[in-house]
């Protein structure tokens, strides 16, 4: 079992993924027009405003996990320079994603609360910003939503490439989608998990808490979410089976997950709250058109908790190749 990366990187991988996924959901609501279907859209509001702070928090955790870089922070700037390293790609993606998502969130707040716009507009000490108020708010917001979603896909995928790029050193992390397809599984799994946790946060949790079950307003949402959960289940199954087929320490990792030291985390903290429970809840909502406060919040919390433990599980179950 690898011991170099523990909880801090796991939380970071989770926050980065969930932030990216939430922004993608908000951008999808923006571009599909669901954002404007009703006067107030908590999904778009949370999906636009939360990713910036989430990713900032994750980045701070990453910096805190550094050795010399924490004590001598100027060393962090060296991390922008070596482009063969996936970590350098990540540093660039985070550096671009954070300001874009913060601006997108700020514009979404201005759009959702005219009072905030009015307040800022009438401050004497902000008079120099007058030229900004002439910009078309929604079109500007849409530009940042577009750039933000491209960066969000990058953030969600790179966290997976970061792990798979270690190659033969930790065979479980570099497991392929299927033994004969030369695409690493982790980036694909992390992207789908990011979208699922993003929906859990912005739809199941935020919308249910703010205005009641979102599914009653956008009929296709439970189906889309069920599709994500289904695809994620399929990918997780393919990961474990491919690892078992590959043998060696990858198979050992898979065995520890299915029925070994990590089995409790896997079945009780990931599969049950993040896959089975939300799938049943959303199937119920899609079939009967009903979704209660408890089931919405329950599936949202379950998906978010499972997303966190999934990152932790994949980190701790990485076993170095035998020599």
């Amino acid at each position: 079992m690898q011991t170099a990366w523990g909880w801090l990187p796991a939380i970071y991988l989770f926050l980065g993924g969930m932030g990216a996924g939430a922004l993608l959901v908000a951008a999808a609501f923006e571009f599909y027009g669901k954002r404007y279907q009703y006067d107030f859209c908590p999904t778009a509001l949370v999906g636009a405003t939360v990713p910036g702070p989430l990713v900032i928090l994750g980045t701070l955790l990453l910096i805190f996990d550094l050795g010399a870089g924490r004590r001598e922070p100027w060393r962090i700037f060296y991390m922008f320079t070596h482009f063969s390293s996936v970590m350098t790609w990540g540093v660039w993606l985070l550096t671009l994603f954070i300001p874009v998502s913060l601006i997108y969130g700020f514009l979404e707040i201005l759009d959702a609360f005219p009072a905030a716009r009015q307040w800022l507009r009438t401050r004497r000490w902000l008079r120099w910003t007058a030229f900004l108020w002439n910009l078309p708010l929604r079109r500007t917001k849409r530009v940042f939503a577009g750039i933000g979603s491209v960066l969000a896909v990058g953030v969600a995928i790179y966290t997976g490439i970061l792990l798979s790029a270690v190659g033969p050193a930790i065979p479980f992390w570099s497991t392929r989608v299927l033994p004969f397809i030369p695409i690493p599984m982790m980036p694909v799994l992390f992207l789908v998990s990011a979208l699922s946790t993003g929906m859990g946060l912005t739809v199941d949790l935020a919308a249910t808490l703010a205005i009641g079950p979102m599914e009653q307003r956008v009929k296709s949402l439970p189906w889309i979410h069920m599709a994500f959960i289904g695809v994620e289940t399929l990918l997780l199954g393919m990961l474990l089976i491919t690892a078992l087929v590959n043998g060696g320490s990858a198979a050992q990792s898979a065995r520890e997950i299915i029925a070994g030291t990590h089995a409790v985390v896997f079945w009780v903290l990931i599969v049950l709250p993040g896959f089975i429970f939300p799938f049943v809840v959303h199937a119920y909502a899609a079939g009967l058109g009903r979704h209660s406060l408890v089931s919405g919040v329950g599936s949202g919390v379950g998906i978010v908790v499972a997303g966190l433990f999934l990152r932790y599980l994949i980190l701790v179950s990485g076993i170095p190749a035998a020599l």
Binding site: G33, G67, H82, S84, A321
Partner: protein, 219 residues
């Protein structure tokens, strides 16, 4: 507000394009690895004869003392193989690969390979992210908690450049460690490598170890 349909299509297109670009990036990394294999071979060679190694650990302790490492920490690690009656000892340290994955994944250029094949860490550049420790298939790196940087065997380079020997070679009691110039065809190490008796450890990792070689008995 009226929602233009083009934006939706552009949104989906951009999202898909980013996804494809990210997936294509992976083979690009691999290609860089294959280019790196054309790097020049190393000038030094250190051969460990596992048929002579008794696993006494003198090399581990000598390495610790020369490099002023704390108690119980060394650049050399012992792996016990074989069975109880016939144990085999595998001493693992940095293999000084010609295609070092630690240098590829390092985000700061801190790990680099010298022209003579020795892989070194510039500790002034290291941020301590530990990515190199994950990427080394030989798990040859340790972490210096005090200074917060990655650390590993540096082939006792100042001693070697001055005509001396690495501490582990000097200390080896059964004479299982051989050190010499691989670019001198008359040297013992060059002949052992040429004869095929001394081989790189786990060449299937694809890192092309260029200084460390092992003589392993055929079982």
């Amino acid at each position: 507000m009226e929602i233009p349909r083009l934006s939706r299509r552009r949104f989906l297109g951009l999202t898909a394009a980013a996804g494809v670009a990210a997936v294509l990036g992976v083979p690009l990394l691999k290609r860089e690895a294959s280019l790196a294999q054309e790097r020049p071979k190393a000038r030094y060679a250190l051969i460990i004869d596992t048929t002579k190694c008794t696993g006494c650990g003198a090399c581990i302790e000598a390495c610790r003392l020369r490099n002023h490492l704390p108690e119980g920490v060394s650049y050399i690690r012992r792996i016990v193989k074989g069975n109880e009656r016939n144990p085999r000892f595998l001493m693992i340290q940095c293999q000084h690969c010609a295609n070092p994955p630690c240098a590829t994944v390092c985000p700061t250029h801190a790990t680099y390979r010298r022209e003579d094949g020795v892989v070194l860490i510039d500790e002034r550049l290291c941020v301590g992210c530990k990515y190199c420790m994950q990427a080394c298939p030989y798990q040859a790196r340790i972490f210096d908690e005090e200074r917060g940087v990655a650390d590993k065997c540096w082939l006792c380079l100042p001693w070697v450049l001055g005509g001396g020997l690495p501490a582990c070679v000097e200390a080896c009691i059964p004479g299982a460690r051989l050190f010499g110039r691989a670019d001198d065809p008359q040297s013992e190490v060059a002949q052992l490598i040429a004869s095929g008796r001394a081989k790189p450890l786990h060449p299937e990792f694809g890192t092309d170890p260029s200084i460390l070689f092992y003589v392993i008995a055929e079982e």
